[in-house]
């Protein structure tokens, strides 16, 4: 019954969406305003309509309706309630439905804005968004139906939505349960954030296409979608950071990022999106790089779909490919179509998109922004090539190869360092004109200040040149960013006689985009600290110790105190070691590395015990143990220096985006209106 309601509404949503496209096309061609309005209303209906199948599926999930195949695949009776809810995106068809639902939320929201001056964009924005939505709904309705059920026929159990001839419903006694890797609180929020980031990049893309079609190729589309883009970037960044945290907490290999193809597929749209975010500033300020910005947003959109395709089609097998199915060719066709249509449109407007301004100096800030784009794109091309090469190799030579972390680290490391350096220099450089001499004058103070890192590094015993260079770079960029804040605040103190705190506050408040951006930069600096620490200075050891025995790593030592094994009410068998941690002989903490065995999924999971400080994490994994303990248990210990800064940096990063993207409140608007008056009074 509920499954019927869910599937029925899904079908209706698809039909309404198709109608919306048709109405928008017709309204646009015949210039009939009422048809465009009708299309707009159709799009406004997307979110409320799709909410019905989502609620239906949630209801089925929490009420153990195991006749529905999806419910049976991703839940089991023993799972706690919240995991039954998150199982909505724990499998193939559910996650696609969830994807569509989030896109529908943006579709509906965009119809509610005031379209007054941008009326001509409206039909095209509707068409782009609805075409994308129709594609995903189509996949859900015809290929990956989340409401499909089990039926007992004379030949066996089949899976279908409608009852086959002479079949009776088949209801399994219990479900198979969610993939244990997904049974983690981090999974409540990581996928939704990632998906939100994915779908919200469709909004600026839709406006870009609308601008191309209508020929309004000025920076209007960019200004209109500036906030949307920032929010998209916020969600995607948060999704990536949470994913890294989840990997660190759950996967038990001592790291946070394994250059897994599916991680990369979420990272690629972030790279092009970040390049886009930077280069649109040039278009707004200088009316340059118009074509380039369109290329970037088109690329970002198709990488979003490509990312979903990679994750969902099973083309790449990796730890993330929980569900695989035959929807690959569909996605492939969709990507090829959208990419060629978008690029075709871009070419047709190529002449109109000529820059009014030109680059005057290699030393100007615009030139550095171009360099920034080159580096981001360089990383993007490297990662794309890295995940495609094994497939190409398999096709061409028949030989399967692995392209693993060493490749990516070596190829992208220098590019990341280059980006970091740019982050340090660009904010100090003037727009339009500059010279080496002016550079020197702008940079020397932070540069001198950053020299303080050298003695600090020497004292800390860091002498390898890569390490010294990386840490110095971090110190330099930090000095520049703080200097920028300081200069801005000092200017206000001088001009307005404000005290330090009000000066800082009003500085950030009055130019949130710029200073939000600098806060993001500080976040990146902190994250870089964590990355350098773990990538260059991680150490590890493994050993088997008897109860009471110890294992040492650097100045740390762990003592194996006890091991307990017990069943939990949510269907796990937990084997938990009690481990004491000492540092230079001094008692520091007690940690509990453990192994969870999931009965329903027949799969173990390794959860590390971690003693975390700002200086570094002692990360202990229970590798193995003997039942009758004479030999004891095997532990693997990692020391991950500075890794906490990765998470701290992540939060600062997000805070910075929030500062830049938060909607203006009434007070701001009043001030903005009154500011010309103020100027006159002065």
């Amino acid at each position: 019954m509920v499954a019927n309601i869910g599937f029925g509404t899904l079908l209706i949503t698809l039909i309404v969406a198709l109608y919306g496209i048709a109405a928008a096309v017709y309204g646009q061609r015949s210039q009939h305003e009422q048809w465009i309005n009708s299309a707009r209303q159709a799009m406004a209906l997307m979110f409320p309509l799709l909410t019905v199948p989502v609620l239906s599926l949630l209801y089925l999930l929490v009420t153990h309706q195991y006749q529905v195949a999806y419910v049976s695949e991703v839940t089991s009776r023993s799972m706690p309630f919240y995991l039954k809810l998150t199982a909505l995106w724990g499998g193939q068809s559910g996650s696609l439905l969830f994807w569509s639902w989030l896109l529908a939320a943006f579709a509906t929201a965009i119809t509610l804005r005031d379209w007054g001056r941008d009326r001509e964009f409206l039909p095209w924005v509707i068409i782009v968004i609805l075409v994308t939505l129709v594609f995903f709904l189509f996949v859900n309705v015809f290929f990956e139906n989340p409401f499909s059920r089990y039926w007992q026929t004379s030949t066996g159990i089949v899976q279908a939505f409608a009852r086959p001839e002479g079949a009776v419903p088949f209801v399994p006694r219990d479900g198979q349960g969610l993939n244990p890797l997904l049974r983690h609180p981090g999974m409540i929020i990581h996928p939704p954030m990632l998906y939100l980031g994915f779908v919200s990049f469709i909004i600026p893309y839709a406006f870009a296409i609308a601008a191309l079609v209508t020929g309004r190729t000025d920076d209007r589309w960019i200004r209109l979608t500036r906030r949307w883009t920032l929010w998209a970037w916020l969600f995607l960044s948060l999704g990536l950071i949470l994913g890294a945290r989840w990997a660190y907490d759950v996967l038990g290999w001592g790291g946070y990022w394994g250059w897994d193809p599916v991680e990369i597929s979420a990272f690629m749209p972030w790279l092009t999106g970040t390049a886009f975010l930077h280069s649109v500033m040039i278009q707004e300020k200088k009316d340059m790089f118009k074509r380039w910005n369109l290329v970037l947003i088109i690329l970002t959109f198709d990488l979003v779909v490509f990312g979903t395709f990679l994750t969902r089609s099973g083309v790449l097998s990796s730890v993330h490919a929980f569900a695989q199915s035959a929807i690959g060719p569909l996605f492939f066709v969709f990507i090829a179509l959208t990419l060629s249509v978008s690029l075709g449109l871009l070419l047709s407007r190529w002449k109109d998109l000529e820059s009014k301004n030109e680059l005057h100096s290699l030393f100007s800030r615009e030139a550095l922004f171009l360099l920034n784009n080159l580096l981001f794109l360089g990383i993007f091309v490297t990662t794309l090539w890295g995940i495609l090469f094994p497939l190409i190799s398999e096709i061409v030579t028949g030989q399967k190869v692995t392209v693993g972390p060493p490749f990516y680290e070596r190829a992208t490391g220098p590019l990341f360092a280059g980006l970091l350096l740019l982050m340090g220099i660009a904010p100090l450089i003037a727009w339009t004109y500059s010279s080496l001499k002016k550079w020197g004058r702008a940079v020397w103070k932070p540069l001198v200040f950053s020299m303080l890192t050298f003695p600090a590094l020497y004292i800390a015993g860091i002498t390898r040149w890569q390490g010294v260079l990386s840490f110095w770079l971090v110190g330099f960029v930090f000095a520049v960013t703080v200097y920028e804040f300081w200069r801005g605040a000092a200017a206000r103190i001088k001009a307005h006689g404000e005290n330090v705190f009000t000066a800082f506050y009003s500085l950030v408040k009055n130019n949130r985009r710029r200073y939000g951006g600098y806060i993001v930069h500080i976040g990146v600096i902190f994250m870089a600290l964590g990355v350098i620490g773990i990538e260059m200075y991680q150490v590890e050891t493994q050993g088997t110790i008897p109860e009471g025995g110890s294992l040492s790593l650097k100045e740390y030592s762990i003592t194996y105190k006890d091991l307990v094994s017990f069943d939990t009410h949510d269907g796990r068998n937990v084997t938990r070691a009690i481990v004491g941690v000492t540092r230079s002989g001094e008692e520091l903490a007690e940690i509990y590395p453990r192994r969870d065995y999931f009965y329903d999924a027949n799969q173990p999971m390794t959860i590390p015990g971690v003693k975390s400080t700002l200086a570094g994490d002692l990360y202990v994994i229970l590798v193995d143990w003997r039942e009758i303990s004479e030999e004891g248990a095997t532990f693997k210990i990692y020391y991950n220096p500075l890794v906490n800064w990765l998470w701290i940096g992540g939060w600062v990063f997000i805070a910075g985006i929030l500062v830049a993207a938060w909607p203006e409140n009434e007070l701001d608007r009043v001030q903005k209106v009154s500011s010309p008056l103020k100027k006159r009074n002065r």
Partner: protein, 166 residues
């Protein structure tokens, strides 16, 4: 004749003792190599089943066996390269973290830097083109303050302007 056999047996026994006392690397039973040595090699290998998980971190029983095999080979005195070579021979190039640098595989290493250089070159070309087309009327005479105080003033007015024009 009898003496002869006796001598033969004695020689054999002496040889046997020698073999036991002077173990050659091929037959020796050295102490079990520590986990860290095993992991150092396992880190660089990927089993064909658990894709994208390095062997040292993988918890499946298949990977457990592979690690056991590495330990055995180490015990027999094999070098790191020999062990890696053994796995490549048995399971193909995919067990390595990176494709070996030969033939078609060179592409994986060459394409990213070449693409980057091509991008940099295109940028440079575009840039010089801009400059040439622009140079006759280059308004370089724009007044730019050169002294410290001037720069400071310019900066303050820039901040102020940005805050107001926002």
């Amino acid at each position: 004749m009898k003496n002869h056999i006796h001598l033969g047996v004695r020689v054999f026994l002496v040889l046997l003792v020698l073999v036991i006392l002077y173990p050659s690397p091929g037959f020796a039973q050295e102490p079990t190599p520590p986990d860290d040595e095993v992991n150092a090699i396992a880190k660089q290998l990927y089993c064909p089943v658990c894709e994208n998980t390095p062997l040292d971190a993988c918890r499946t029983s298949a990977c457990e066996q592979w690690r056991g095999l590495i330990r055995e080979k180490l015990q027999q005195g094999w070098t790191e390269e020999e062990i890696k070579g053994y796995f490549v021979e048995e399971y193909g190039d995919r067990v390595l973290a990176e494709p070996p640098k030969r033939g078609f595989n060179w592409l994986v290493y060459l394409v990213p830097p070449l693409a980057f250089l091509a991008g940099a070159y295109a940028l440079y070309r575009g840039f010089t083109k801009w400059r040439i087309s622009r140079s006759p009327s280059r308004p370089d005479s724009r007044k730019v303050p050169e002294d410290e105080v001037g720069i400071e003033k310019e900066y303050i007015s820039r901040v102020e302007k940005e805050l107001e024009n926002r």
